[in-house]
Symmetry: D3
Subunit: 335 residues, 6 copies
């Protein structure tokens, strides 16, 4: 059996109003399963990897049904803990034209938030793993999840499992715990081999101030100085003409060089959520399969671009779909 990619984070139920409607314009919600780390796990499975989500969900018909939906997409869900607490959720109103999308989080006191760090036996959970992925949302959820994330990374480091961390800063989630955020995020970045984040993330954590010239390169330099395990720092640049018309580019820095992907115009966006996770999964796929840094950022940017065409949080496309876009032949109708 291939070594596993382990993703630690909350699995969320997303409730969105149909089409371009506002909340409750019609009396119905579309339901999807998501969560930054689950999104990465699903996408990596579709790219051919064995992936496991470590999380906690309520022991109810709802919690079980959400785990089922995740298992459907090939992720190993046997390590999900079913316990007390509620289902973490968010309500999504899709954006359109000049009206931005809106996300309303409703995840306080979720099973994941209240599960004590001892819920997870990391030595065992990582025994067959080659990679651990965590995002900055996990420490934002609660003190317990912040501690659990830190323990996971320490166990991974000890077990020679490589680590990626996606900063994914969400001020609203940290709430009153915001003052702690820089310290807790830094603690996790210190363990990471790969960081997804840009100059604003580095600035937030380390108090760094960029000169006008090339903020991203400068931030990368600071990061490489501060985080001793760091090999790559990766981010996207999103140019936004309107809610519906955007442009996406991927950037990857190692300690010396910067690699930039092709820029993809995004119009008629089907689903904006999960684009960053699809991008991260794409870059990780490149690194995991021995692609060069340039190939990795190219693969990641194409994957992130394609995600915008798929309803829901997950990128359900495979390597051949990404390669078709990379080939620049594109497609129209495949028969």
């Amino acid at each position: 059996m291939k070594p596993a990619i382990v993703c630690f984070g909350e699995v969320l139920l997303r409730l969105s109003s149909p089409g371009k409607e506002l909340l409750l314009q019609s009396p119905r919600f579309d339901a999807h399963i998501g969560g930054a780390e689950a999104n990465v796990a699903v996408s990596l499975h579709k790219f051919g990897h064995r992936t496991r989500v470590v999380s906690a969900l309520p022991d109810s018909t709802l919690g079980r049904a959400c785990a089922d939906e995740l298992r459907r997409h090939g992720v190993d869900t046997d390590s999900i803990h079913f316990g007390d607490g509620r289902m973490g959720m968010y309500f999504l109103t899709h954006g359109a034209g000049h009206r931005p999308a809106e996300v309303l989080y409703d995840r306080a006191n979720s099973s994941f938030a209240i599960a004590p760090p001892a819920t997870y036996d990391w030595a065992s959970l990582l025994a067959d793993a080659r990679w651990l992925h965590v995002s900055g949302i996990t420490p934002a959820v609660s003190a317990a999840t912040a501690e659990a994330a830190s323990q996971a990374m320490q166990a991974a480091r000890k077990a020679n499992v490589q680590i990626s961390f996606d900063c994914n800063f969400r001020a609203r989630l940290w709430g009153s715990r915001s003052p702690e955020a820089p310290r807790l995020l830094t603690r996790l970045c210190e363990q990471a081999d790969v960081i997804f984040g840009d100059d604003r993330d580095i600035a937030f954590m380390l108090g760094f101030k960029a000169s006008a010239a090339d903020a991203r390169r400068e931030a990368a330099d600071v990061a490489f100085k501060t985080f001793k395990h760091l090999r790559y720092i990766v981010c996207t640049e999103r140019a936004r003409h309107s809610v519906d018309v955007q442009q996406l580019t991927g950037l990857l820095f190692d300690s010396k060089n910067a690699y930039t992907s092709r820029s993809y115009p995004l119009h008629s966006i089907v689903d904006r959520i999960g684009g960053g996770d699809a991008f991260a999964a794409g870059v990780l796929h490149g690194l995991l399969t021995g692609m060069t840094p340039q190939e990795s950022i190219d693969f990641g940017a194409a994957a992130g671009c394609l995600k915008h065409s798929i309803p829901g949080d997950f990128n359900l496309l495979g390597v051949s779909d990404v390669e078709l876009l990379l080939s620049e032949k594109g497609g129209d109708v495949r028969r």
Copy 2:
């Protein structure tokens, strides 16, 4: 302007799986607004009364949309407080055949639960009122709502506003506050002119034990002895052959007599939720419009029966619909 009926309780977002499906069998939820007191308020409005819901909801697009949906059905929502906290919800799986329905509450830490009693200025909220209705769910939600319910009733009593209380005991909602439940429920029953409840409710509150013979009459006698303002105690009897085939009868007791309605066979039930609230609203309509006790319990039972034919928590039918059923002429197709 007619004097108002004031209903104090939580407004809930109900998310149900479509048709007879289990949760997430298809990736969609049907959305309805409900809550015991809101249900009574809507039904009384449809019967021609001016009704007001006093409650608290989150100050978000979601909370506002839920209040809009309530306003749509004619209820005055101007006294709803928009503040912190989350939207109270429940997940519903409809029953079918021999499979019971399932309700999963997700209402902890809702805006209603955390609103301090001082949120509500009862003197002003009741100034134009003739009736106050509260259910036993309100004190179950939190210590704050229990206190607010008590203050509401005291203010009503002072203002000569009549009071009805629907025991509606839900063990799961009380949770760790269960030991307090009998005392808190008794405190509210002591103020009530009309109580909806049966011998099990009286037994739970007062420790009463029925002899085999006629538990409901005995319980009523105990209640009339204990609760000095009580004029009527009202309940239903639900004979259940299966989840889908039931029989519904209404009973009303005053201090001397018992009044029993016709028994309605219920088959092909469209929506089981809210039947008790529709029944309560029907009985209250009778009492508010000067019907005799027999007429009131007849109207209530017919209203409760009809509710089972309507999707959602609300009974949206009017007086003429209830009267058509009472006329025993019934109907087939009205053209």
Copy 3:
């Protein structure tokens, strides 16, 4: 080519709320095409006959789309006149449990109502016909349609085309024209070989009063005396336990004998509308194919029963489906 069955009447757009919902409970209507005569035409086509609907519809994308939907079910729509006026419609709320269905007609000033009698060249429309079917709704729509129906029947009689008339009395449609109704209906019955109607219809037209004993037979005797072309008078008996639980029996009278079908219990009714038209089509199929009176009423009753299992106004089942029910073997799953 087989000689045609010509049906003259209004083609309606039916807008119904989904499932068991009340109007606008969710912001959507299900759309079906119907109309008493169109229903008969579709059912007879499914039984293997060549059928033509003569009618008038608005010359708009909507009117054309409604005609398309009728053509889909095999009816010849080439004789439909497209002209001024609006689309005739009705709004349907399905019944459930003890709540009756509701039909709201919105057909005043429809293209059919305002089309002058000269719109229809009956000599040509009936040139290849063997049967003309009209219902009592047609003369109720407007003075113009009443005149057109009368002209159609005279032309049919002249051309040796047999005639059936379904009384189908609808007080609301006649409105202020009610006083004329008995005379106009009688004028049509006088031409008919087959009348669908019961003692109430005969009483309404002819002022007849039944003794207690056997009103239907008595009414039939009066009809046979009054209407010189009459061969059969046919009706159903619908016993109603609730909106959802009914029992259906067919009765056919010739001048001497009465023929009664098996009684079908109707529960879990899918769609109540069009049952009478399906029954009429079934009886006509029997008469058209040389069945005995007993076989004809049996076929009609089974067809009427089966219609209740099909969404929409049309009975879309064929002869073999009816025969399966008649065989009393019934079925469960046909694989």
Copy 4:
């Protein structure tokens, strides 16, 4: 209580085929409530104003349900008269690509059309009002509504209630009454403080002919000369590249100056209907809250632009949503 904005006009049921389908491509219609004045009322309520719709609807389950849907969005519907007549409707086929949208009106003989002017007691309806809004659709509906509109304006003028009038010329609605249109529209414009209309409207009413140079300014000058109460004349300029790709600009003229808003590109239009009403409501909000003319036209154009992103006739967004767009920071996902 804040003084009210009173809007007088027809409330319509809109039936549209789902998504981009043609009529009846699938057997379903999406239902929305609309109507030029109702649209303005809803939008002004969302902007924080107290609004009332004065209208007439059928006294049926359908008419009541339509009023409920309007009340849902915060408008005071207590002054709607329920009486005879039918529900005014329109059928909408959404446009797409190079295929224009299609509106089929079906509003002849509606309750609104046939309600006599005496239905409305304007002294009482305007007693707590600060503003009256009417559109040119109202006089087009029938002679009775034209008269009622005129009486409403006279009463408003007498009561010192300000008046806005949106020309909204629809040739098809006027039908055979077209020759009267210029006179009737002029009669209403004479009372107005604010007119929404462009040079084509002025030309139609007053027979004015623009020189090539600046038709809109010239028309405004003519209007200011003709209409003695007029303070502002306001219109939009819609550049259309295809059905789906357009550009929207707002223009406001006072007797001396012209004010032009930013131009908004409109692509991926979600719903084209109601854009003009949302624009009008935005401008009125500016004028009602003491904004400068420039600020008012800016607010109106942004509101009109945003409406194109919302399904249905109503602009359901609030002041903060418009301000976000005006801030030019725009948005992508609001979390």
Copy 5:
């Protein structure tokens, strides 16, 4: 890890018309995954067992998506072979009232049908198994699947894996291969420890003719004589009042005794398909967990009854749901 239950059979895509509609009445199909052996595997997983489906599916986005849907419900799908051929399907029209359901198979030349027996390495597939389940549909699909089923059973017998066989005779599937059916089915029954089948199945295979008295017991005696490994023969009795109103009883025979379950009335059937597979899974669960024969047939009949309340082919309920029904307390709403 618990030893596995291995189920060998075709995984089918089921396309059903929505609700009670006929095929294409509205332009949509509901999609479910099913297949006799897959149904048993899913149900046994829900009862707490580790289950594996061995099958063959097309190597296409469709085949993969169908396998995903199966994996969602907890079944191990890693042994499904993805290869040439098409997706096996069936079209389902739900029955209603007196109209039977209709199944149209479209499974010829499916990937499963054309996969050569050597596709499956039974020694390895059964290495961790304790039970093998196959139905009579598998040998009906093609000569190749008949041979593969036989090889599977031989391998199981060799590996001391117990075997159940569900006769499930479908004449239409055998088609021109019908003459071979008795021989091929007998070959499989000879290996079975448990047979699901009744006297008609035994008669079909062995030419046995029952005397009037007790055909099922007689057939069981013949089966016990003929099939040397047989421990239990199990069947249901389905009394059918109409398509919608039925009664279900389970019967289990060992070589000496007969065990009969409670009889369950079935009304308002939600989904008729998969009832037999749910029953089989229930009985197997009893036998696998050491229940007595009486307890096993009771559990099976309750499971089979409950399946009729669930949309789709799968019984998704768990042990506690079945036990609630068995407790005869039943339920109404579980909160």
Copy 6:
């Protein structure tokens, strides 16, 4: 009666996932009827022609329902043969953004594929015809359909019925019969008056190799030399910026001149399938109604462009819709 246009080809059931979803993302398929020749027949009927589809379908409720759906759109379906075999289908995943659409054919062993050439009596089928249209898909389906197409063309030629052939090359359909494709296609082109095809089609059939300069003209010259009945060769040029943003131009060659249509930008494509058939129908309409070559290619290109705005395979728009686009006035909302 007008002479008929006869179209010979397979009628397919198309199953597509809703909106922009991938297959089975939600458990539902949208159903449409299509097929290259049926698409042309429907479009020509909407342009006012009498059209007939000659084909073969399964004699089942499904096959009948598919024919009904075709008849709905005005095509004469009386010549469709109902027999053995299965329903030809394809599964469609709509494309979006940078993700191409995907078509999965599932049409092997369809009723059309297995119907022997003698199924069709061409002398009779073409007796009232003026035009025969066949596409290159028909010979690709099976040897039997290739032979039938050839016989149809010979019969047409003999009966002075004009012939159009749309090359429509699909490698996957030809499968193992690919080596025969050039010969079989050539045999059909030899009979054609009008060929829809470009230089790649000519190259595939005739082995022609274009010089760099003007491949399409060169190919046309070769075609005119080879195919003695050829009057016009017609094709489109599709420039593709992404899956969602394209540009469409029509080209028509006679033996001397080339005619080029306006170029239409295609964005927000609603449905990509059937665009080529709508184009062909448009060009044929021009030729059939005596338009000049320039007018014909203009009409065809506008028709093809408009098809992209309509869900399903069929172009359901009429002549006036095409003329509105050709007028370059376009439209926004037609009221």
